[in-house]
Amino acid sequence: MNEKKEALRIEILKYIEKHSRVELGELAVLLGVEETDVVNEMAEMEKEKIICGYHTLIDWDKAGVEMVTALIEVRVTPQRDRGFDRIAERLYNYPEVYAVYLISGSYDLLVTLEGKTLKEVSRFVSEKLSPLDGVLSTATHFILKKYKDHGTIMVTKKESERIPVTL
């Protein structure tokens, strides 16, 4: 891939990471390139799974919807030839599992889980997660408040205090 194309891709990605709903014509203006270039690169990157989706960051709390998020530390025994992949797969296929990461340090997998109630989450841990072959132990942490999520500060931001007209 030539340098210019690479640079354009990175500029596009950086922009849409924060503003996924931008119109492509407008994005082209902002980046100072032709709209067709933006359209083509976006299509290619979608096909290459560089762009994995266009999701929305929602403050469920504000929406008045009960939502419990848990971070679960999981210690597992890796399997010969397959390492942690098989057990990770067993976990990430559950729809209520939000994310699964392999982690360095004192445990192996970090699983984030979204459930409607504490009960739902604890049932998942005791009925699905803990009994899995290879799972040695789990430690579940519930999120009490999201201050910042996906790079966005979730608590209300202050009003601008700039004087409207200055020279």
């Binding site: 203006v29 902002l30 980046l31 700039r162 004087i163 409207p164 007209v165 200055t166 020279l167």
Partner: protein, 390 residues
């Protein structure tokens, strides 16, 4: 009772469009594109460093010229950015914003009757500071046809044997014009030929697009006749911290430091510690802000083209300076009507000198959402005036 005021201060005219400003600043529901400072908060690591310095009890005066480690960082930064090396001890002074450096610089350079060439449109403080320093301000009107760059032809009309100082206000507030190396070279030759000094106000240097900022001090033979003024307000989004600096010939910096010592003591200590962090570790934040301004700049130019509003493409600061001459009304009239009818505040070009007549300064230190809304209203307004004229 005697009049407490000097004739000098009374004779300095307040900005002629103050009334417009008062109205604009009172109108709470208006969208403003009139601001002369960044919309970004100061990068957190800079703020945090300021807080940390307070926690450590760093609340005393610094040396008059400013923290030595800050002066050293500034010299390294300038070496990197404009490729001119200065001595942090003898050739660098930390000031209260760039504005203090403008004021004391002129007071240290001028004798009564010395003339100062001030290209306009430009920032409003050069003229009164010249007058307070007993100098004679000589306005050099810049031309739209030259995209408001300064040319030797402009200078030739106003140079006299009494001319001592030339102000170089680039990247320019309000026009957004920049001077490239090619633009600066003939000006530098002219300066040397006429044995002038230059006060180069480079406060917007970090906000240069599509090309690198070039300081006139970096041209051959110019370092020893140039006072470079810069600061943290614009590039580092630190307006309220009031921190600027200047670098130049030792003889000048020495006298400026003397005056600064008597008038100011030292620049704010907290700001100085915070700025050290800014120069050491904030390249990425500064780059991101610049990119963001550049995107908005492109957006505005695109919108102007679409609505048929005449504007040269500026490559500096965060202003565009469209022409409204086709509407046959004064800048102030246009701005007043725009404010009243569409509740959008912009600054009439005349705020920056008479030759700003026929232009508006539009700031893009705003979110894209705000810019879109404001430009929608501006477009509607322009259409209405065009219809009126038909």
């Amino acid at each position: 009772m005697r009049n407490p005021l000097s004739k000098k201060i009374v004779e300095i005219q307040p900005s002629g469009i103050r009334k417009f400003f008062d109205v604009a600043n009172e109108m709470k529901d208006a969208i403003s594109l009139g601001v002369g400072e960044p919309d970004f908060d100061t990068p957190w690591r800079i703020r945090e460093e300021g807080i940390f310095s307070l926690e450590k009890g760093k609340t005393f005066y610094t040396s008059n010229a400013g923290l030595k480690e800050l002066r050293e960082e500034i010299c390294r930064y300038l070496e990197r950015k404009i490729h001119v090396s200065y001595d942090p001890v003898k050739e660098t002074l930390i000031t209260v914003g760039g504005s203090e450096a403008i004021d004391i610089g002129l007071r240290c350079m001028l004798d009564p009757g010395d003339e100062v060439l001030i290209p306009q449109p430009s920032y409003v403080s050069y003229l009164p500071c010249t007058v307070m320093a007993d100098g004679i301000p000589v306005i050099v009107p810049l031309q739209y046809e030259n995209e408001f760059k300064l040319t030797v032809e402009d200078l030739e009309k106003y140079i006299t044997p009494k001319t001592k100082v030339l102000i170089m206000p680039f990247p320019n507030n309000p026009t957004g014009a920049i001077m490239t190396r090619e633009d600066l070279e003939p000006v530098a030759e002219f300066i040397k030929e006429h044995d002038l000094y230059v006060m180069s106000d480079e406060i917007y240097s970090e906000l240069t697009y599509n090309t690198e900022h070039v300081s006139i001090a970096s041209l051959p033979g110019m370092r020893e006749r140039t006072l470079v003024i810069n600061g943290f307000s614009k590039g580092f989004a630190m307006t309220g911290w009031r921190l600027g600096y200047c670098c130049g010939p030792e003889v000048l910096i020495e006298q400026m430091t003397k005056l600064h010592q008597f008038a100011i003591m030292c620049a704010p200590t907290t700001s100085q510690y915070a700025a050290v962090e800014g120069l050491r570790n904030c390249d990425e934040e500064v780059t991101e802000m610049r990119k963001s301004y550049d995107q908005r700049r492109r957006f505005l130019m695109h919108e102007f083209t679409r609505m048929g509003l005449e504007c040269f493409e500026p490559f500096g600061a965060f202003y565009v300076f469209p022409s409204i001459r086709e509407f046959r009304m004064s800048s102030e009239e246009f701005a007043t009507r725009l404010l009243e009818e569409e509740k959008v505040a912009v600054v009439p070009g005349t705020a920056f000198g008479e030759c700003g007549e026929g232009f508006l300064r539009i700031s893009y230190a705003y979110s894209l959402e705000d810019l879109k809304e404001a430009l929608g209203r501006l477009g509607r307004f322009i259409q209405r005036i065009r219809d009126e004229h038909e």
